[in-house]
Symmetry: C2
DNA sequence: TTGTAGGCGTTATCAG
DNA sequence: CTGATAACGCCTACAA
C-alpha cells in the first residue's frame, strides 16, 4: 500500500490524510470525526479534543469535493458574466466592484465563486449548470432583454432554482432581483440641473432594451414634470452606452445647442464620448452645455471638465445579492421568498454641471 | 422509492437521471455508458447509438461533482486576485481583459474558473486550496514582492503544485510565469521620445517592489544609453501607480520643467494624475512636456491630450497562461516543465508625446 | 454520546 | 467489445 501525497517530489512529507486516519488516531469512529468537525450533535469534550488534536497532528483538511458529493451540493455560487472582451454596456469598473462585493460575501460564507461567461452567440443553458451540480445558485450580471436571455432566465424561475439578477428589472415579476434605483438616481440628476437654472434639458439615453434605460427615462420625465417643464422629444437622443455612440450623438447635440441648456446622459462612457466630440467642435464645457452623467466610474473624475454623475453602489449591490441568495440556500424557511432589493444612488457633483 | 428532481415545484417533470437509469434504458451496463460518454475504448456502433439515444431521451447530464470526486480532481482552475476594492496597481481594465482570456481558455478545455480573493491581511494559504481539492491548478494575479506573498508562492513551488504567476518576475527562478516584456516596452517608449528629438527625459516610476517597475527602469536606461544620453537621477520620480501619486509627483516635475523635454511614466493612471495637476498649474501639454505612459487602458484615449502609451496584451496573456497551465495538467510528459512566456507590447502613439 | 452501515454517481480495473 | 465491482471520502439515518 502506498501513501497518497499531494506533493509530487517535495522534500517535506505532506500526506493527504482522510477522515479515516483521523478517526484511527483519535480512537473514534469516522462518524464522530465528522460530527466534531461539523459541530453537529452533542459530544463529550474529551472526544472532541481528541479528534481535534488528531486532525491537527495529521494536518487534516476536508476534501471539499468529496463533501460536496456526499451533500449533493457543489458549494459554489455561479456568477454569470456577459462576454467581456470589447465591453459595451458595462464598464470594467462595474465588474471589479461587483465582483469584490460578491467575493466578500461568498468567502465569508465558505462558498466558492465559479465565474461563468455567457456566450453571446449560443443560448446560455443556466439550468444545466444546476443539473450538473456545478453551482448551487447563480447571480446573473449584465442581463439584457434579448429574447434568448429572457427565456433562459425564465426557465430558471420556472424550475424554482435559486438565482438572482443583478441591476435589471423584468416585467414578469417573481424573479429575484437586486438593483439600484435608477429612476430616483435620474430624477436627482435632472433635478440638480433644474436647480442650477436649466430648463431646456436634453437626454442622451442608452439602448432601450435595457430596463435601466427605461428607468432613467422615467426619472428624467418625473423631474421635468415636477418643475412644470414640458418634455421636448426633439432633444431626446439615443446611443448604446458606448463611448463611440456618445461621439455620434454629438452631431445632433451640436446642431441643437441653441435649444439646450444642459443634457442628461445615461452613462459616463457616452458622456465622455460626447464631451470629446463637442470640444473638438470648439464647444466650451460646461459654459456652452451643462452635463450630468451616470455611474461615477473611475474616469468621471478626470475628464475635462470632471463629470457630475450618479454614483451606483456596485460593491454593496454584489455583496447584498450574494448574501441574500446564499441565505436562501441555508435557511429552509426562506426558500420560497423572492429577493427584491433596491439600493439608493448618490449624485456626485463636479464641474461638468456648471458648479 | 421517490424520484429525485431538480425542480422544487416546477410544472415540467425534470428528473435528475443518473448513469444507472441510462444503462437500464439502453440495456447495457453502467460501465458501458461511461465508456460511450467518455469516448474511451472500443465499442460497437450499435451500442454506442443505443446509449446516446437513451441518454438524450432521459435528458441525462453528467454529475460534475461525482465525476470530480471519482477522478480525484476538481476540474477547476483557481484564479487568485489581489483584494480589489480601492484598486491600486491594477487597473480594472487589466482584470477584465485578463479574466476574459482566462475564461476563454478554461471554457474551451471544459474546466471551471474558481475566483479566489487574496486577503491582504492574512497570509494566503495556496497549498490548502489544492489539498481540499478545490482547484487543480492556480493562476496568480497581481503578485507583489511582499515577503508573505513570496513565501506562499515558494511553498507552492516546493510542493511542485501546478501554478503560474501572471506578469511578474521573480528572482528565484523555477517558477512558472507568463509576463509581458516590460523592459522592451519601456525601451520602445523612451526610444520614441528620443526619435522625436527629446534628450532630457524624466522617469516617473511606480513602486520599486514590483518587478515591473525594475523592468521599466532597465528599458528606460537602455534606450538612453543607446542614444548616448547620460541618465540624470535628479529627474527620476517615484509614485505608487495610483493617480494620486501622479498628482503628487507633479510638484517636483513642475519645478524641474526647465530641465525636461519629456517624461516616461510607469502607467496610465499616474500619467493621468500628473497631467491633471500640471494643467491645473497652467502647463500646456504636450508643448511644455511630452509624455509617454504605460498600459493603454481605456482612459488613455480620452485624456487631454490623449496618451501615447504602451499597450499590453492582457487578454492574450490570460489565455496563454491558462492554456499552458491546463495543458500541464493533461499531458503527462509536460508535468515537470516550467512555464516561461514573454509577450510583446506595442507602442500606441497619440498626442501626448507631441505627434 | 457514539458506532454502524448504506448511499451519493462516477471512474477504472479486471475478468470474461 | 462488454459486464461486474471495488474504490473515492464523506454524510447521516438509525441503532446501541
Amino acid at each position: 500500500m502506498y501513501t497518497r501525497t499531494l506533493f509530487i517530489d517535495g522534500q517535506e512529507d505532506y500526506p493527504l490524510t482522510n477522515r479515516k486516519e483521523v478517526a484511527r488516531l483519535a480512537g473514534v469512529s469516522e462518524a464522530t470525526v465528522s460530527r466534531v468537525l461539523n459541530g453537529i450533535g452533542p459530544m463529550k469534550d474529551s472526544t472532541k479534543k481528541r479528534v481535534l488534536d488528531a486532525a491537527k497532528q495529521l494536518n487534516y483538511e476536508l476534501n471539499a469535493v468529496a463533501s460536496s458529493f456526499a451533500r449533493g451540493r457543489s458549494g459554489n455560487l455561479g456568477v454569470v458574466m456577459p462576454h467581456v472582451p470589447k465591453v459595451h454596456l458595462f464598464s470594467t469598473y462595474y465588474f471589479s466592484e461587483l465582483l469584490s462585493g460578491i467575493g466578500e460575501a461568498v468567502r465569508s460564507k465558505g462558498y466558492g465563486l465559479l465565474l461563468l461567461f455567457r456566450d453571446p452567440a449560443a443560448e446560455f443553458d443556466y439550468v444545466s449548470l444546476y443539473r450538473t451540480q456545478r453551482v448551487d445558485a447563480c447571480l446573473i450580471l449584465g442581463a439584457s432583454a434579448i429574447d434568448s436571455e429572457i427565456a433562459g432566465i425564465h426557465r430558471l424561475a420556472e424550475a424554482s432554482l435559486p438565482f438572482c439578477v443583478m441591476d435589471q428589472r423584468f416585467e414578469h415579476s417573481g424573479l429575484s432581483i437586486v438593483a439600484a434605483d435608477h429612476e430616483q438616481g435620474s430624477y436627482d440628476a435632472v433635478r440638480h440641473l433644474i436647480d442650477g437654472g436649466c430648463t431646456r434639458i436634453g437626454f442622451l439615453n442608452g439602448s432601450p432594451q435595457y430596463s435601466n434605460s427605461q428607468d432613467r427615462h422615467e426619472g428624467y420625465l418625473r423631474a421635468l414634470a415636477e418643475a412644470g417643464i414640458e418634455p421636448d422629444e426633439s432633444i431626446f437622443y439615443e446611443g448604446n452606452y458606448s463611448r463611440t455612440s456618445g461621439r455620434r450623438a454629438a452631431e445632433a447635440v451640436y446642431r441643437d445647442l441653441g435649444r439646450l441648456d444642459a443634457i442628461f446622459v445615461g452613462n459616463d462612457r457616452m458622456a465622455i464620448g460626447l464631451m470629446q466630440a463637442l470640444r473638438e467642435k470648439g464647444c466650451r464645457l460646461p459654459d456652452d452645455l451643462k452635463i450630468v452623467a451616470y455611474d461615477d466610474s473611475d474616469a468621471a473624475s478626470f475628464t475635462e471638465p470632471p463629470l457630475t454623475t450618479v454614483k451606483v453602489p456596485f460593491y454593496d449591490m454584489g455583496r447584498l445579492a450574494a448574501d441574500k441568495l446564499l441565505a436562501r440556500l441555508t435557511d429552509k424557511d426562506q426558500t420560497d421568498g423572492v429577493i427584491n432589493e433596491k439600493l439608493q444612488t448618490e449624485l456626485k457633483i463636479r464641474k461638468s454641471s456648471g458648479n
